[in-house]
């Protein structure tokens, strides 16, 4: 078959249309483990220091102007059963048997703080078709923009921690999640849950300092007394408090899980008991991204296929006409 000028025009028009539709998919790229953003901040939560006072929950609701959640008709208490579109941060309790001893798996209890993990390679950000969820290139905070969001809820499917919540009862629903009090940082303040924590269980600071501090704790002798920084670290000498060192599970949760997170946890009972899933070191999004990348790299395969299709259809048409 000779390629006539008209055919060529058709072909290029077809390709152009496709390029316009999905061409920039060429930008899709697999990437290896993501590095920490330059000014990455985060939270180190230490379950062994937490006394379950829920001051962080109150502070969180105040800072983010969220209503209380309760079964009590007087509405005096805030007692949410779990994270929701009205609760960005929650202290939950694990109990076993008699529940007598703190931070003990058998016949004990332990607290855990749940909120957005601010992943280094966030599935919600990758999955969002309209970039409503973004990871700040400097601080690494995963934030939400309601003006971009179309409400498809793919972020909820993709998040391995089930963090994004949806306002099901609203006619103009939004996705709701912890944004690490990004709005307070502009005023020189920091995450309300950490600034309100009286025991040092929730600690705010630069990621590198937090990881260093966590590693230090894992090397302390259980049962001895040591100094623990309060509220935040990273700027000058922190306020400290002297507490007994707990029997840590030798794992810093969030250091490697799904490629690493900016919310780190230490605990005295296994993390799966606290409702934190056992996760691989690579984000699930990598596999999906890899497949998409292999197929759509430079849109080469789709364009070749389109060309071949046009050729075959054309050939079929001319042979039909001859008959």
């Amino acid at each position: 078959m000779k390629l006539k000028r008209r055919d060529f025009l058709k072909l290029s028009a077809g390709s152009g249309l496709l390029m316009a539709a999905a061409g920039p998919t060429a930008a899709l790229a697999r990437s290896d483990k993501k590095a920490l953003p330059p000014d990455a901040v985060g939270i180190l939560y230490d379950s062994t220091l937490c006394i379950g006072c829920q001051a962080c929950m109150v502070a969180c609701k105040t800072a983010n102007k969220m209503p209380t959640e309760t079964d009590d008709p007087s509405k005096r208490w805030d007692n949410p059963p779990d994270l929701s579109s009205n609760t960005l941060n929650i202290i939950k309790r694990y109990t076993n048997g008699t529940g007598a001893t703190k931070d003990q798996e058998q016949d004990g209890y332990a607290f855990v703080k749940r909120q957005c993990m601010h992943c280094l390679d966030p599935s919600c950000v990758s999955s969002c078709p309209v970039s409503a969820l973004t990871k700040d290139p400097k601080t690494g905070i995963v934030a939400y923009n309601k003006d971009a969001c179309i409400g498809c809820r793919y972020c909820q499917i993709a998040c391995p921690f089930n963090i994004p919540k949806f306002q099901w009862e609203s006619t103009t629903p939004e996705i709701v999640k912890c944004q690490l009090c990004q709005h307070l940082m502009k005023e020189g303040k920091y995450a309300a849950c950490c600034s309100s924590c009286p025991t040092g269980a929730s600690l705010f600071g630069p990621m590198e300092d937090l990881i260093k501090e966590a590693k230090r704790r894992l090397h302390l002798e259980p049962g001895t007394y040591a100094d623990f920084p309060l509220n935040q670290i990273g700027g000058g000498t922190p306020r400290t408090t002297s507490r007994m060192v707990g029997h840590y599970v030798q794992q810093l949760y969030g250091e490697n899980e799904v490629g690493g997170t900016q919310n780190l946890l230490l605990a005295g009972v296994p993390f799966t008991k606290l409702g934190l899933p056992e996760l691989p070191d690579e984000a699930f999004v990598r596999l999906a991204d890899g497949i998409q990348y292999a197929i759509y790299k430079g849109m080469a395969y789709p364009l070749v296929l389109l060309g071949a299709l046009i050729y075959m259809i054309r050939k079929g048409e001319t042979s039909d006409n001859k008959e």
């Binding site: 309209v130 391995p160 089930n162 099901w168 699930f284």
Partner: protein, 378 residues
Amino acid sequence: MENKQPLGGRLLTGPFVFFLTLLLIGAYFAVQRFTYGLGSVSNMNDGYPWGIWIALDVVVGTALACGGYTMALLTYAFNRGEYHPLVRPALLTSLFGYSLAGVSVIIDIGRYWQAYNIILPWHSNLHSVMFEVAVCIGAYCLVLWIEFAPTVLEKFKSDQLLKKLNRVLLIFIALGILLPTMHQSSLGTMMLMAGYKLSPLWRTAFLPLLFLLTALIIGFAVVIYESLFSSAAFGLPKETPLLSKLSTVAFWCLLLFMVIRLEDVNLRGYLPLAFDGSFVSNMFLLENAFLLGGLLLLMYPGNRKCPKLLFLAASCLLIGGGLYRFNTYITGFDPGNGWHYFPSVGELCITFAIVAVEILGYMWCVKRLPVLSAHQKA
């Protein structure tokens, strides 16, 4: 092409009124959804953010609408002109299937008035599988309308426009094959993101290939189904020789699918999980039982010549293939933390209404537009 005619006849038949009623009930719940929010109508929740509107109307629905894709593939790309009589009716069902999947999505998404953000370059996220699927399905809807346009133009005898359209139709036919190949496989890639929340009986890197194959299998089955149904319902002669050829193609696709599907679960070592007696495992077995049933029925060439057995086999393929897709999105998905999901009455009614619109539209079109091959009424 010239021998296609409208069937004519009365529109307001019993079935027509029945489906119209379903449509009105669904419309009531749709109004409620837009006035009081998604939570007032649906049982979807933060653990199961996607319900039957996505799993049935979009994921299974667009597969059922793949008749146009498979017929275009056979007729135009593989130049099997003999399938030509099946193209137009298949295209029509595709047109309705895809357009209504689009309607479902608008009902489902929370911030529908911002849906156009997807195509605004400063919002588009090219890393998102959802982006690829949304853009592809949107583009394919347009392509389907253009592909079907000659039927409408013939009706209104606008020959000039028809001539112009026929000149560029080639590109749209090619796109009509390329676009479904892209987004039907991506519908599988989509659930890879769910990670551990999706049962290992369904989660595999083969998801895109398996979804593409089910699109083909369901596409072939739906054409067989629809042809047999039209012959029975509208008293047209049967197209059995053509259908038996078509079912041979369907058989080989299905065989390929079953080998990959079962061997993949087996090699990853999760086959024992299928027999642990849980609801999820039983759904896995049920899904594969239907597909294996269809495979066995189609294995014997003699069976492919018998309309009754063809009907049975096509039913198996439709149910089994549909279950595979439904299970990947709902049954096999478990976010943990004690979340449950079962569709509410309102949700079901909206889905029924969507199906009703498809049937009503099909009925109207074959009676008023030149879609089906003209024959003497039997």
